[in-house]
Symmetry: C2
Subunit: 199 residues, 2 copies
């Protein structure tokens, strides 16, 4: 993947509540993939979320690892024991612009933590960086997107997702989707279809 | 507000389904506020979402207008009749980087549309721009955040939200919240509290 020179980046989603958080957590996982993370770990093995993400990977490609765990704290401890660094996104942390260069230049594998509601004190104490994407309440979905955007300097826009079955051809006023590897791939004469929008 | 020189920006959230989309739609509204939009219009008057947003405005400040409507199409027609322009965020659209400069230099009031599931063809046809924040599926929450970030060139980070009751003091390893206008405002000796994280 194009973003590899910056080192491995995993996202850990904490505090997912079955049912209630399904959609937001799925969006967090989709952002991880679309903005170039190498892996997504969900605390709590919600198969409806994991299945949605795997389905997107199968259709739209990419090789992001999708896993779940029973304890985010154990993931953090193992990550640090293995020489990685931990970045916790929180509205109480230091401004993104102030710390992103230091984070970017470090060659250590990065674990980026996004919480749901209340995040245990452990994560504040054991993260190498507590980073705020603005000190205002918004969303873990947008916080992760902005963090990865700055980390990768916008290069997520140029990722080519390997193994995709479908690909969008950008269009000023339509929905043009081509089947990859088919006889007409890469042409806007390819198989057009009306596909659900993502907003 | 600091971002005013760029002109008025409203966000229109389409296709909200009561209950099911409550959390994601609330996150869209919070992103609109945190990233500098002047107004948020929800198609479908879900008081649980509108109430959550108004509560955030009352506590954390800002003057974003929060409204609802019964028909997004009517909002679009009125917006255009009044001389404004309409930008629809969709994964099928033109790359953000290719169109954002043209959008930014236009002094017209901007209506930014974010959909939920399927978006009616009307919006593709009647938008001045169909814009993709990447042609991959992710989230309307992240799409809106990235769009506003690029539109405002990252200046959302410097917005001072007027009328705030609480303000976060950025912290490397804690949660420091001060009560605005109290005797200790602006000092990290201010009223410290443990407040819910936003992830």
């Amino acid at each position: 993947m194009l973003l590899n020179p910056y080192g491995m980046v995993y996202v850990l989603r904490l505090g997912h509540r079955l049912g209630r958080d399904k959609r937001v957590t799925t969006h967090v996982g989709l952002v991880a993939r679309a903005f170039g993370a190498n892996g997504f770990i969900l605390e709590g093995c919600d198969e409806s979320v994991l299945g949605s993400l795997r389905k997107v990977l199968s259709v739209w490609g990419g090789d992001m690892v999708v896993e779940c765990c029973s304890s985010g704290m154990e993931v953090v401890r193992s990550w640090k024991d293995a020489g990685g660094e931990v970045i916790h996104l929180t509205m109480y942390g230091l401004p993104l612009d102030d710390v992103i260069d230091a984070i970017r230049v470090s060659p250590k594998p990065k674990l980026v933590i996004v919480g749901a509601r209340r995040v245990e004190w452990f994560y504040y104490e054991n993260s190498d960086y507590n980073v705020a994407v603005g000190n205002q309440p918004h969303s873990e979905v947008s916080a992760l997107a902005l963090f990865l955007d700055r980390l990768f300097r916008g290069r997520w826009a140029y990722i080519r997702f390997g193994g995709a079955k479908l690909r969008v051809i950008p269009s000023s006023r339509g929905k043009v989707v081509v089947r990859v590897g088919g006889p007409r791939e890469g042409s806007d004469e390819g198989s057009r279809g009306f596909h659900k929008g993502s907003g």
